[in-house]
């Protein structure tokens, strides 16, 4: 990913070989094992993975909100606008958070403070980061609520989170992330808790705002459908590393990693009543005992001896495409 299709300017965010581990009583869980990805300004990168793949932990490390202990960044670099965030002090990172990069969480009800009105929480962003007066902050809060499509924003600015529906709460989360017009937004499963009709509304809003403000967007999700609709590029994660990354069209058309292929084949389609689904056999690995060699080999239909022993590097498999599979060529040819 680092040299494929080299963009002329430096990327907005460049995560290089990041490693994170959790030191627990039951042993060390290697949640992230050398993740690399880049996001350009105005682009959407989707990070796709199942639970335990490390997709959220990577994002938390980028945001600097990793629970530490037990979580520790043990290697790699996080270059944001050219600066390595891991070398910055706490205070400096806090200033970046919110102003330069912001995060949208899955569960808006637990991410918002239940005892403060949404107006206060939105206004707080301005008061803390830019020192605006309380009255002015309130006016800005109303403006933001209108921008994200909350009806009767002026009347509802004093309401509390529980008084809003799930979709409206997610809009408030988006408004909060947007408040200081950051350059990068990380959305962690922003629509997973929502119903499909509301999910479509929220995804549309997010895409529209990204275009309008020319932000970089990292969309973390497990939903292959949501990704197809909005992403420019995709990074597929498995057992704490990126196993494939590619522009969205190419990845869906011809996956270069058996795991990606397995995922695509295991979702039922809306268009027809199905035959048996091609399920991936077995289970994702326990992070305290990741299999040697390629972590996917116990579940992989292509696995051979070399997969048990040698960890596959990220092969360049095409313009802007990488795959961490020894047999990427075979996989790619099989898909065509």
């Amino acid at each position: 990913m680092t040299n494929g299709g080299a963009p002329p300017a430096q990327p907005l965010l460049d995560v290089q070989d990041l490693a994170v581990e959790f030191r627990t009583r039951d042993g060390v869980a290697k949640a992230v094992n050398g993740v690399s990805y880049t996001v350009a300004a105005g682009q959407t990168l989707a990070v796709l993975g199942e639970s335990g793949s490390g997709k959220s932990v990577t994002a938390q490390a980028v945001m600097g909100i990793l629970d530490s202990p037990p979580g520790f960044v043990t290697g790699g670099r996080i270059l944001f606008q050219g600066r390595d965030l891991l070398t910055l002090g706490k205070e400096e990172r806090r200033r970046i958070r919110g102003a330069k990069m912001a995060m949208i969480f899955q569960d808006a009800l637990s991410a918002l403070n239940p005892v403060l009105s949404v107006g206060t929480q939105l206004g707080e962003m301005f008061q803390v980061h830019t020192g605006t007066s309380r009255k002015e902050a309130r006016a800005k809060a109303v403006e933001l609520m209108e921008r994200v499509g909350i009806p009767a924003a002026r009347a509802r600015v004093g309401d509390y989170p529980h008084q809003f529906s799930g979709g409206m709460r997610q809009r408030i989360m988006i408004a909060m992330a947007l408040a200081l017009e950051p350059d990068l937004i990380i959305a962690d499963e922003p629509t997973t808790a929502l119903d499909v009709t509301v999910q479509a509304q929220v995804m549309d809003l997010l895409a529209e705002l990204r275009r309008e403000y020319r932000m970089g967007l990292i969309l973390i999700t497990h939903d292959l459908g949501v990704v197809a609709d909005v992403a420019d590029t995709i990074a597929v994660m498995y057992a704490g590393r990126v196993v494939e990354s590619a522009p969205v069209h190419q990845l869906y058309k011809a996956p270069a990693h058996p795991y990606t292929r397995g995922l695509l084949e295991s979702v039922p389609r809306l268009g027809h009543k199905g035959r048996e689904l091609h399920a991936i056999k077995g289970l994702p690995p326990n992070l305290t005992a990741i299999p040697p060699g390629c972590a996917f080999h116990p579940r992989c239909p292509l696995a051979r001896d070399v997969c048990h022993t040698d960890r596959p590097p990220l092969y360049d498999v095409g313009p802007g495409r990488t795959s961490a599979c020894h047999f990427w060529k075979e996989t790619l040819d099989g898909a065509r």
Binding site: E50, S51, P151, S165, G166, G167, M168, D195, V196, T197, V198, Q199, A200, Q201, M203, D204, H222, D223, L224, G225, V226, V227, A228, D229, V248, H249, Y252, G262, L263, L264, S266, V267, P268, R269, L270, G271, H272, K273, G274, E276, L277, H278, A279, I280, K281, L283, P284
Partner: protein, 353 residues
């Protein structure tokens, strides 16, 4: 579809939860109309899918089917016998044949019981199914049937992954050899790769044991994959019901159309095809405005009218019946199916593959 009379007949099922005010003297001030007149049949060996968004009442229907909730009104007939007012022994006998699989494999298994005890517990309540000495063997058989190692019988739920736990829940549901399994979002909590395994398992079990399923889910793709017929619910009522082909390829109710068009499709090519179209015109995606109204205060007439782009004055006055709309009475193709809309018309929204 299997011939013969329906196994389950559900007629005008209603469940209202009273809203009360006051502490000592409780006064009923209203009701949450969770289910507000639902009718359908379930035939032998078929799968009826029920889809809808949160709060539409699909889970409440499931709970009434297995006897966890008592209907406020209406009937459920099992093999012609009304089971809604049964009590005691008679109810127990019927329940044996209608079992449930729950959504959350993390909270629906008792963490202090071994897998063997969890799957074997139904035998305690219905000892006639398996004599005491035979139970361990039966439990091991069940574990094998759902694809788990029979040696796991003494393990506890926390030693299993989500997908494996759901298999345990399914084994428990199968223990009494029921005819009907009501599955409430059985794969929603699972990861994609594991979800496919459990979906395949459910399909295999149905073929092996001749089970009938009521399969409830919000994921429209999974429902299509497993179901022979599909009912779409909105705010306590069925909006449209028919075969998979009728509902997915020839929907005539505006809510079904909006719901289907909103499903993200794992195909980036579909994006261009669906973007840009607004409600009411052409193909493409239909974006509904607003949220689902509160079931404590549903709109008059058609429940969907507050979000519907076709709504007229008639919709506020008259509740549309769930029947084949007049416009399609003479149709012979798949558009002829029950749809509760005054202005039903066909609109294809699912991209054909």
């Amino acid at each position: 579809m299997a011939p013969g009379e329906p196994l389950l007949e559900v007629r005008d099922l209603v469940k209202h939860y009273p809203l009360t005010q006051g502490v000592l003297i409780k006064k009923q001030v209203g009701a949450v109309k969770a289910v507000d007149g639902v009718s359908f049949d379930l035939r032998q060996g078929e799968t009826l899918g029920i889809v809808g968004e949160s709060g539409c009442g699909k889970s409440t229907v499931a709970r009434m089917l297995v006897g966890l909730e008592r209907p406020t009104d209406g009937h459920i007939r099992y093999r012609g016998e009304d089971i809604t007012r049964l009590s005691g022994r008679a109810m127990k006998a019927v329940r044996r044949n209608i079992q449930m699989v729950f959504q959350d494999p993390y909270t629906s298994l008792n963490p202090r019981m071994t897998v063997g005890d969890i799957i074997g517990e139904p035998f305690e309540i219905h000892p006639e199914v398996a004599p005491k000495g035979d139970r361990r063997r039966r439990v091991q058989e069940l574990l094998e049937v759902v694809g788990l190692n029979p040696e796991f019988i003494n393990r506890y739920p926390h030693q299993f992954s989500g997908g494996q736990r759901q298999r345990i829940g399914i084994a428990r549901g199968l223990a009494l050899r029921p005819e009907i399994i009501v599955a409430d979002e059985p794969v929603s909590a699972l990861d994609v790769s594991v979800q496919a395994q459990v979906v395949n398992l459910l399909a295999r079990l149905q073929a092996d044991f001749g089970l009938s399923y009521v399969f409830i889910a919000h994921d429209l793709s999974v429902v299509r994959h497993l179901s022979d017929r599909v009912a779409v619910m909105y705010l306590g009522r069925i909006a449209e019901i028919g075969t998979g082909e009728q509902i997915y390829d020839h929907p005539t109710h505006p809510y079904t159309q909006a719901l289907l068009s909103a499903v993200p499709v794992p195909d980036p090519g579909a994006r261009a095809h669906r973007a840009g179209a607004s409600a009411g015109e052409g193909r493409g995606r239909i974006l509904l405005s607003g949220d689902v109204p509160s079931p404590a205060d549903p709109p008059s007439g058609c429940h969907f009218r507050t979000r519907c782009w076709k709504a007229q004055e008639l919709c506020a006055r008259v509740e549309p019946p769930l029947a084949v709309p007049a416009a399609f009475q003479d149709a012979t193709g798949p558009t002829r199916h029950a749809s509760a809309c005054h202005f039903a018309e066909e609109r294809r929204v699912v991209p054909s593959e």
